[in-house]
Symmetry: C2
Subunit: 299 residues, 2 copies
């Protein structure tokens, strides 16, 4: 089955201590869509301006991403610019130009409305609602978010949580949302807000799941060289949803492996600027790292 | 086989946001010895003053810890006092009274000199050297440390590393020692300083091993209530060494399970003040959490 993905489609200008890369293909939906495309067909919902490079359209197409829900309108594509510190953990935003994103209203082509797997990648919660409102009866909905929405759109987000099966956020956001330092207590509190599956991402420390079958401690793949972590979280959840959409058997049975596959795609994402490394990955490379992670965690 | 453990034997006064506990049994050697005692006989090397509570001697004895290397001298027992912040991650030292520890020189009873498994728990590197100098030919030596020694006794520590098989430190210390942010690169650098096994502890994120068979990602047991993390790292390495000393088969074959057993003892340590919880644990409780960790990480 295919995955419907809504989120930001952007141009990212990224500065690290060693390099600077302007106007890379970025945005939560781009990262998630490419990640999911290794496992399942993807339908992308987003908006770009008339300055959007043609090569990025070709990139989406090479990954067989259905672009019938991607709006192309006059104006500038959403542009984000950020800088990482030496340790690659802290980043600061240098610039945010919303461009055509400011007036974006996602419209679903009719053929998209019956999609069974939906990923509401990081975007304003109001737009995540708007996508769900247009759908008939999805089988599994996952939502990601960011600190910004906890700050300026908390009510929308809290109304969204009962509508999703899985909510994904990072440790800092979990603390911000629940005021809890203990992540396991935080997950309990988030379940009470609606989602059956809660995933907390911890960057290089991996992620943890709280779900119907209890907890799962999902490892991160050991990286000796982190080039650019932008989009790693989106790649994680995108890869996970792509895997879930096509794996045989129940969602519950496949969930842990889906997270590990997502974790591996995220590891590739970190090894290059933007999508540079991810787009060069083969399905066999992913399978190899999954096998390695199995060995790295067995005792 | 038994484990010889040298380290601090102290009285800890610990303050957390919710409670205050004066003069608990503490010190790296106390925590490590009790942890190791679940798996193997322990020979303790340390010093206490004449104010050392008799009940703590009884506690050691209940854990069948050999005290013939524990010096009891006139004066005050080493006393440490610290306070944890709300998130239980940051702590600050309120008071350090070295007492009889100031002039401590570890003397090994003859029967101890041929011990095969040696844990140089956190203590001045000069004293760790002094213990090794008295030994005939130990089979496996592990050393722990703390930021203080990296600051004031780095040369002693660097001379120690080629003498140990396994070096254990936390992520902050690994960064301090190697100036590396990436833990996997840091471990590579530490191997070059001598040890065949390098373990980096990451608190609630577990620990990672770099050894002859590559890496191992060791999970931390999920805790919903961390009461007092003092001594968790010592419990981890103590439990690990106790397990290694008695497990059948080669050290390499047993190493991962040993870390997991250590991780579980550390989880119990965090659930009570000082050694309050650890001393109530049964071997079967430990086995149960090890089984749970197996399930929590399988995919």
């Amino acid at each position: 089955m295919s995955v419907l993905i809504v989120g930001s489609t952007a141009l990212d200008s990224i500065k690290t201590p060693t390099a600077e890369n302007p106007r890379l293909l970025g945005g939560s939906a781009s990262h998630a869509a490419v990640a999911a495309s290794f496992f399942s067909p993807v339908k992308l919902i987003g908006v770009v301006g008339d300055d959007f490079p043609r090569e990025y359209i070709s990139l989406y197409k090479r990954h067989k991403i259905d672009l019938s829900g991607l709006q192309m309108v006059p104006g500038k594509t959403f542009h984000w610019s950020g800088e990482y510190e030496v340790n690659m953990n802290n980043r600061r935003t240098l610039l945010t130009e919303l461009g055509v994103f400011e007036k974006f209203t996602p419209h679903l082509p009719d053929a998209h409305k019956s999609a069974q797997f939906v990923l509401l990648a990081n975007i304003a919660p109001a737009l995540q609602h708007h996508v769900l409102d247009q759908m008939t009866k999805p089988k599994f909905v996952a939502a990601d978010t960011m600190d910004l929405w906890l700050n300026i759109a908390l009510d929308d987000l809290l109304r969204l949580l009962p509508r999703v099966d899985c909510f994904v956020l990072n440790d800092g956001e979990a603390h911000q949302l629940t005021k809890e330092d203990n992540l396991f207590v935080a997950m309990k509190k988030i379940h009470k807000l609606g989602p059956k599956y809660v995933i907390i991402k911890k960057g290089s420390h991996g992620s943890i799941l709280s779900g119907p079958r209890g907890h799962f401690i999902c490892p991160a793949y050991p990286l000796h060289d982190v080039c650019d972590p932008t989009g790693a979280g989106d790649s994680f959840v995108g890869g996970m949803m792509g895997y879930l959409a096509t794996a045989r058997g129940t969602i519950e049975n496949n969930f842990r492996r889906a997270m590990v596959y997502g974790s591996v795609v995220a590891s590739y994402c970190c090894e290059g600027f933007g999508l540079n490394r991810t787009t060069k990955v083969k399905r066999a490379d992913i399978a190899k790292r999954v096998k390695e992670l199995e060995k790295l965690t067995r005792f």
